[in-house]
Symmetry: C2
Subunit: 250 residues, 2 copies
Amino acid sequence: MSGEQEFLDSYDPGAFAPVAVTVDVVALTIRDGRLHVLLVERGGHPFAGWRALPGGFVQEETLDAAALRELAEETGLRPGQGVLDRVHLEQLRSYGDPGRDRRMRVVSVAYLAFAPSLPDPRAGGDASGAFWVPVDEVGELAFDHAVILADGLDRARAKLEYTPLATAFVGDEFTIAELRAVYAAVWGEELHAGNFHRKVLSVPGFVESTGETATRAGERGGPKPRLYRAGDARLLHPALLRPTREDGVR
Amino acid sequence: MSGEQEFLDSYDPGAFAPVAVTVDVVALTIRDGRLHVLLVERGGHPFAGWRALPGGFVQEETLDAAALRELAEETGLRPGQGVLDRVHLEQLRSYGDPGRDRRMRVVSVAYLAFAPSLPDPRAGGDASGAFWVPVDEVGELAFDHAVILADGLDRARAKLEYTPLATAFVGDEFTIAELRAVYAAVWGEELHAGNFHRKVLSVPGFVESTGETATRAGERGGPKPRLYRAGDARLLHPALLRPTREDGVR
DNA sequence: TTAATAGTGTCTTTCAGACAATATTAT
DNA sequence: ATAATATTGTCTGAAAGACACTATTAA
């Protein structure tokens, strides 16, 4: 047909070496107040035995679906209902330098996932070899995955500022202190409790009150905190800016 | 070799349909105070005769290089020196829905380019069929390029807020009024001249004075404005926020 | 009882935005 | 001369950050 003919004529045949497209997922969660990333241990070459981001080849599906599928496979969680549907998933960026995979030209579309504390992947059964690692204890990674992880962390830190994404790390109902712990874990610095509390409540649509109060206070005392759920805002106005980092990356 | 063997074993052969990887470029510039995007007219099927974003297949090169090459080819500009080196180019995101190209599975890595006013592509000689179109006069586009363009415009509008990217749209030396015209064109609304002026000068590293003054004032009178060049800041602190859009996308 | 936390109040500083004023230049 | 523009000044309100205070609860 003419469409195919045109297609065949429209590019330099010698330049069209076979290309593979994969997705890699930077899945982040918070455990014990620390930010963790989901890693797998590679079985085969290259980088056999190295840690890597979960990922795989794109099949007959959208890129988003491929990322969700890979995440489900590695965590052993079932899509359709349950925890996996509350995972926030967004495209990060693509990596396609020639030589980033020695086997062939591979363009990887990286995704960023934010999840509430998930069960340990080992418990999932067949999905072994995947585990949550504190982001500050991640050593070397296979391929260019260290770069992808760094980009993902940058994005995550930035998005906490101007989106309500921190709520993706906590349960349906949460306290302001839990939300503050998310910011502390992702940004790596403590936030002033009083100012944070007032700020969160003052941003329209960030959180809404459930009217309920937690049945139990913290382990070390204090009043029973009120419970909130995520609001309907998609952007935070005004934003919740990070404590002034060294002003302006120059 | 074993690496290849592992590779062949590591995926479902039936699922690995051939994939093509392309780059598409959303190239933006400002002409006559209006934001324009570079479009080409497609020669062959599908979408013959339709307008589309410039783009093409990735060759043996990085994705960034592919985007720059496509931009050079379509504008007729030479890389290596000159205007093309002052173009800001950044990856936008990737688009890979099955069926977005009826011929085969095509994953496109979209790029966003900001350029100072460039010569008309037609003048370039061999690179015909490319032209600058005001973004508010772009009709339907081939494939999913309308979505890509919309995403690119969103990104551009957002980046003006917290990066000094507006300087990529003007020459080496510019006046505050020229910079203000960039914001007005991209955001689609006028900004208060006095407040904008003070704001730009107050953000550290946004612009630096050349010490010079323009040789000529505006066409309708006024003092000769001072000249500035881009500063060394990569982020604007504090940011230059858009006039309050409808608060928070809910 | 002690220590820690939740939630609120207050004050200072910074900044955005409205508005005004003055000097300068093309027409 | 007129009108438009560049630049600076002033004022108000919003908001961030520092700090203090009270009430509440686990141990």
